[in-house]
Symmetry: D2
Subunit: 327 residues, 4 copies
């Protein structure tokens, strides 16, 4: 399929690229690093070769979210977004931006998002999971009350928020001890991000801000398969899930969430997702440069779905969600 739009697509700056070193074995790091630092050469050639018209770019992970110093987080966000804006300005027909945000400081994050959306023309934000913060021994998840004013601003700006994975803190990763291979995209990314998303759903955030739209990668981080059980286990009991939100979790999932195909090029999972959240809320993505664009595109272009859904998932849903027009 020609004209695809992809939206979990990462770049790095010299100052952040080493955050990705842990995600490649030593023998592949040279290649991964080169891919991350490139925007206009190899990347564009891959896009051309595999029918991707546009990428929404975002900073690599965890980057900003791992800076426990608030000021450094604010500073890095600003620099990364300025850098990205420059790159986009060179090829606005092929690249658009998603903002990095210093969630350690919710007010600053809201201001930076406003600046990115208003002044830089960014289409939304991509945040790498929970944030670390000096003086706090635990991961900051964004269902906490101190983030609600931030969410209010996201809703006001009307831009989507991509909740991207990161690994758990070492202190919270006992279950993976002796099995580091389970960290990252193998498994831990999904658990981290799915639970973070569930916390957002259960906390009542979407009752207060029903127009918020959150994007999850990797075919929904496992949620479509398990969403029924979240709401329906032990159905005979009078109370099942005691959370502040007013509705079923699945209601929020299908009204406030989109999922992408990034890093999960599996037709069986795609079909299951279509039968749970529907083709209108699924978006093509690759997760470049961690995944190959040809792996994503060759799979998607021939996956066993209808051609109409292929157009929607491959392009039209993203156009509508990000207001990309027909350009």
């Amino acid at each position: 399929m020609q004209g695809k739009i992809a939206l979990e697509e990462h770049f790095a700056m010299e100052g952040t690229v080493h955050d990705s070193a842990g995600f490649a074995p030593a023998e592949d790091w040279v290649e991964l690093k080169a891919r991350l630092l490139d925007i206009h050469d190899r990347r564009l050639a891959e896009m051309d070769a595999h029918g991707i018209e546009m990428m929404l770019l975002s900073l690599n992970a965890p980057a900003v979210q791992a800076l426990s110093d608030r000021n450094r987080a604010v500073d890095l966000s600003r620099r990364a977004n300025d850098f990205l804006a420059e790159q986009v300005a060179r090829r606005p027909d092929r690249f658009q931006g998603l903002a990095a945000l210093p969630m350690q400081d919710p007010d600053a994050a809201a201001r930076e998002l406003d600046r990115c959306a208003s002044a830089l023309g960014f289409r939304g934000a991509l945040v790498n999971g929970f944030s670390e913060l000096a003086g706090t021994d635990h991961a900051l998840y964004y269902d906490r009350k101190e983030f609600w004013p931030f969410w209010s601003e996201v809703e006001r700006l009307g831009v989507p928020f991509y909740l991207h994975p990161r690994n758990p803190l070492a202190k919270d990763a006992a279950i993976y001890e002796g099995h580091r291979w389970l960290l990252g995209p193998t498994w831990a990314f999904g658990q981290e991000t799915a639970v973070h998303a569930l916390r957002l759903m259960g906390c009542g955030l979407f009752d207060a801000h029903p127009r918020l739209q959150i994007i999850l990668g990797h075919m929904g981080e496992g949620l479509p398969y398990s969403m029924w059980r979240v709401d329906n286990h032990n159905k005979w009991m009078r109370t099942q899930n005691a959370y502040p939100a007013r509705r079923k979790i699945a209601d929020y999932f299908r009204e406030n969430f989109y999922i992408t195909t990034s890093g999960n090029f599996r037709t069986q999972a795609l079909i299951d997702a279509m039968l749970e959240i529907g083709a209108d809320r699924i978006l093509f993505s690759t997760d470049w440069p961690f995944e190959n664009i040809d792996h994503a595109a060759d799979w998607f272009d021939t996956a066993a779905i209808s051609e109409g859904d292929r157009l929607k998932i491959g392009r039209d849903n993203a156009r509508a969600l990000f207001g990309l027009g027909d350009a």
Copy 2:
């Protein structure tokens, strides 16, 4: 469908029933407790009413696994298994047994399994996830080397091992802080059990003991949807998952695992599971008394699958796996 066999079906004794109290709100505890303590009345009536010919019974959770005192674990296992054997003896046409095992003491667990399989006629074992052990601050997962002689004995006996969920230790549950509703069947059960299963697959256990058969409940604890990504993320990198096992994780999943429908009565998930692990390795179960038998049976009897697969999943696969004959 008549003649169904169900295999994640729990009972409690007076000494263990309170382990289940945390899984019901106060207003439903009386009912849950009564259901757990009953075997021959309400349970049989429900089975008769919904076409369940046989239940393989197992002790409630976490029971034995939560006893950090090795001797108490050994003692409780033995008492529970003796009690269960008496119940089965009253109606062997309707009930068969799965052994509780004191995994805190691998040798004792192996001996108890041998006793249950040989002397009591049990059909396999059901263990409630990791074990706690005095003097150890972490959860004991069964991929650890000290359990390999136990697994060797399981393979020798040729009986299936049901890996049942439990909640993480409090120290490992930070991600659920402020969101206790995510514990138990809502979400944490799945994460615990899926990772435990992945550890077994990755550690090489099934290379050494290829005939082992592990059963996972709840439509596979999320694994079918995410299994492709476990093996295929970042596919261009020369090494992806560095684990001791020799083969792809999915190879073990489809050769050494079965999954059941317990507590996950969702056709979309069932279809996805059928397209990942195949109907030959899916088994009907309800998770009584936490789930209602009518909820399970009414769903399963009309789910959108072929009648041939319904017979296999509902009965024939279990017959073959547990050697239940045509009785």
Copy 3:
């Protein structure tokens, strides 16, 4: 689901009701006849009871299409449409009309459709397959050149055309000899209507009139399952299908056709149709009074699809296609 719209829903007048007698065994004819002649009593009660907000009504089959006398066909169409307009006027919030058309006389059919759309406010037309015509020994299919001016008018009016089944002429039904049970909805309806639709696709009609929208009932009369083979058999040969149309048959199917669930309440088939033509082109219908409304609604309301797709198939697609607004 509340608020459903159904669009293959039939009524009869005293003059046409006997056309349906062959579709019921004698013991059920009294009931079927009563259902066909009723509009405002039993029908509305059924709609209320099963969440159907609106029915688009159409005359029973074959009615007009079986009148080999052109003038009688014109006359019956007009009378039926006037009668239907009166019924709709009594409850425009619950009923809308689809025109009967005297296709034996393409000019008259075009004029009658114009009258129905413009003067009577009908939403489209429903025609019962091929027409018979005095002096012609064969079935008149609407790909024939004499119908193209009619199709031009349909496109100009911008209203959908429902191609409803009928049985083959006796002379063309040799394959069913000795097996009359295969006639009607069992099998022959599907073959007749699918081939008629394929003729329309292959003749080039949709190249000339790309905005035409044809509706097929009964989950697409078998076409979704076989559409790939229509275009892709013997793929190595340089020419496969020699027909006048310019594009692949599947291209027309997904751009010029909608399908409904009438009389085919099967989740497996619905899922297959969703993966071939997509949820945007599937519409809920029952085929009352030949099918029960509860059979259709109970199935559809719980079928294993996403809630978003349920809303689209159950109501929103029909609203958009027929311009029904939010009323």
Copy 4:
């Protein structure tokens, strides 16, 4: 996948090859003819290249079935089967035989099948739809009473019977007039063969001979998608389908039929078939030389199904059905 078995694979002799001329455009006839006449060269090379260990070979179509002279039909069958036996004898590790049968003479057909199964070691029969017979103006379908002794012999021999398509007689093809492109595999093959199969199911044959196993190609000739409607249309009526057989049509379909993937390399249809008839009754096939082996194998080897089902459909089901052992 290595080790596949394919069973709708045709060859021709000089005397029958022209029967296939109508299925290729002139420019492809040289190639098709060469493919049909080859067995040990190009064919084996294709098999080697695409993981097909064994082909069950059958004569091209319609061949014997189109000979209205009984004696010629008997003679051609015998010659074709002798020729095939010689070819199989040269490479029994790679080829096995399916018998051509002179159904115009049911007794002779039974004797020839016995000879093929007993003396020639054939694994079953493949018959090209209805037979023509001098003095009869209609197609002979095999539900007719004169064929029941033949079916009794098929059951006694315990060999499968492949019901292969052919086109309708010209007198019965009015619906395709002006649209010859709809003949053959595009559409008419499916209608002919599906109705023939339905006649067998409805006539009561499988009540009398419950061990008969019929194979249909092309993913079941459309039947899986429409089977529910065959049995369930107009469900409220007290009698729906009046046929001699005692059970629902779907019961026979899933107990007396297998389907193959020949010429229908579509994942969506395969999944639907799996949800209707189950993976245990689906068999890989290509329909060589009308279809390319690479088209069939490349699709099947990566289709979105479980690896366990791939092994069954690709090989193990055929092994069990035809008694091919593990060779």
